[in-house]
């Protein structure tokens, strides 16, 4: 990636990120898609960086997907968000860290709305108290979990066992990144690096030694788009959007896609399989797909965590070619075993896409 010029832009878009004492809000869908990602984030923060993170089991969805699909009203969403803030306040935290980009967008949008319209905030305070008897303080600091990892990227890289370098050739691995649309598109000053060229993931990948590729459709949506996917007949819009990204990145022969949103890795991962089954086309090398990792999974992998402990077997596109390039050792027999060594079932082998 040519970073000349972008560095000036990045300097204009830096945000304040709290140092410690985080209240963590999990994603509602991510634990089904890539369940190891959030666990890896918590492990890195608590055990490696020795940070205070509170993972509250009482919190709920932020209703973001329902809100953007026009299923719930903004007023309902704001009251649910107010309850999340109330849980944070009850536990004595002021730094809110959502795992999800959609949630991050929802929280950012609502906090901005309340700042400009205090009467709406008062109304929501009244509704929340009436419904649950709870009160809340607005977070002093709001940062997405990828912001936290970016902030401590040098410390994480310093503790890492591996680098994003091909162990056979010594060349940096070619990485393409995809930023969730709601990270900085609505409020560019809330994202590291702004909306056009956020550096939250490219900076992380470069710290791990990768070569980041600025492919033409880098800023296009992953294809999730909420209502485009929720209705089956509309999923053609979703997969067509993802396909455009794959077609755009494939000529650069990327080794890896990294993302910071719950929906993006799922769609960039799964649609590769679906496109291969519908059209017989694959985008990786030798008929394989391009592995897709979340930023937490990548960080955990670099730190030497067992790939099957951080949930990499849950990816539709097998990660083994990437692990081989990096030099990560893994036991193939353990791939579909749980922590107690019990097999939880192997998936059907795809017809078109090569799995290894």
């Amino acid at each position: 990636m040519i970073s000349e010029g972008k560095k000036t832009l990045w300097n204009d878009y830096q945000k304040e990120i709290a140092d410690d004492n985080y209240f963590y809000a999990r994603s509602c869908i991510r634990q089904n898609f890539f369940p190891g990602a959030e666990k890896t984030f918590l492990k890195i923060l608590k055990e490696e960086l020795k940070k205070d993170v509170y993972d509250d089991p009482r919190h709920t969805t932020c209703t973001g997907i329902a809100y953007h699909s026009d299923v719930v009203s903004l007023e309902t969403t704001m009251t649910v968000v107010a309850r999340q803030f109330a849980l944070m306040t009850e536990r004595g935290y002021r730094n809110f860290v959502p795992s999800c980009i959609t949630s991050f967008g929802i929280y950012t949008e609502i906090m901005e709305l309340w700042e400009h319209h205090p009467e709406i905030e008062d109304k929501i305070r009244h509704l929340l108290f009436k419904a649950t008897g709870r009160e809340f303080k607005v977070p002093a600091n709001l940062a997405h979990s990828s912001d936290i990892i970016y902030k401590y990227r040098n410390e994480i890289a310093g503790m890492s066992k591996f680098k994003l370098i091909n162990k056979n050739t010594g060349a940096p691995l070619r990485v393409v990144e995809h930023i969730g649309c709601h990270y900085a598109r609505m409020f560019p000053h809330k994202g590291i690096g702004g909306a056009e060229y956020p550096c939250v993931l490219s900076g992380l990948a470069e710290t791990f030694g990768a070569e980041v590729i600025d492919y033409p459709e880098r800023r296009a949506c992953c294809g999730f788009g909420f209502r485009q996917y929720v209705i089956q007949a509309n999923r053609g819009y979703s997969i067509s959007c993802s396909k455009r990204k794959f077609e755009s990145m494939a000529p650069y022969k990327p080794d890896l896609i990294i993302t910071n949103c719950p929906g993006c890795p799922y769609f960039l991962d799964s649609w590769q399989y679906v496109i291969s089954e519908m059209e017989g086309k694959t985008y990786g090398q030798k008929g394989q797909g391009i592995p897709v990792l979340t930023f937490e999974e990548l960080s955990g992998l670099m730190m030497g965590y067992n790939p099957w402990d951080i949930g990499l077997q849950m990816h539709q596109i097998p990660v083994e070619p990437l692990l081989d390039k990096i030099g990560v050792e893994y036991q193939q027999d353990d791939k579909y075993c749980d922590a107690q060594g019990r097999t939880f079932g192997k998936p059907v082998i795809p017809e078109m896409i090569k799995i290894c």
């Binding site: 007949a233 509309n234 999923r235 997969i239 067509s240 089954e277 519908m278 059209e279």
Partner: protein
Amino acid sequence: MNSFGFEIQKDNTIEYDKNDLSLAAFVLKHEPSLYNCIQCGSCSGSCPASAISSYQFRKMQLLMRRGEIKNLREDVAHCLLCGKCILVCPRGVNTRNVIRQIRIALNMN
């Protein structure tokens, strides 16, 4: 191939870097009044050929200038060269000569 209950749509991205713009350059060189076109569509609205076929002058010339010329031969074959489009054009584009130049370039005369 498997069916999943939805279709992958054809990408409408226009690749200016890859498309052949030489035909558009030829036509614009020999009929520079086409530069004056404001895409108002009066030509298409007055065209008797567009009433009985999918041909539209505005769409055809716009795609040609973008290098999307796959269906161009079929499109210009519909033109009757009646010249109504010249009469209604508010910018004085010699539309009939545009068609003629395309046909010359495609060896259709």
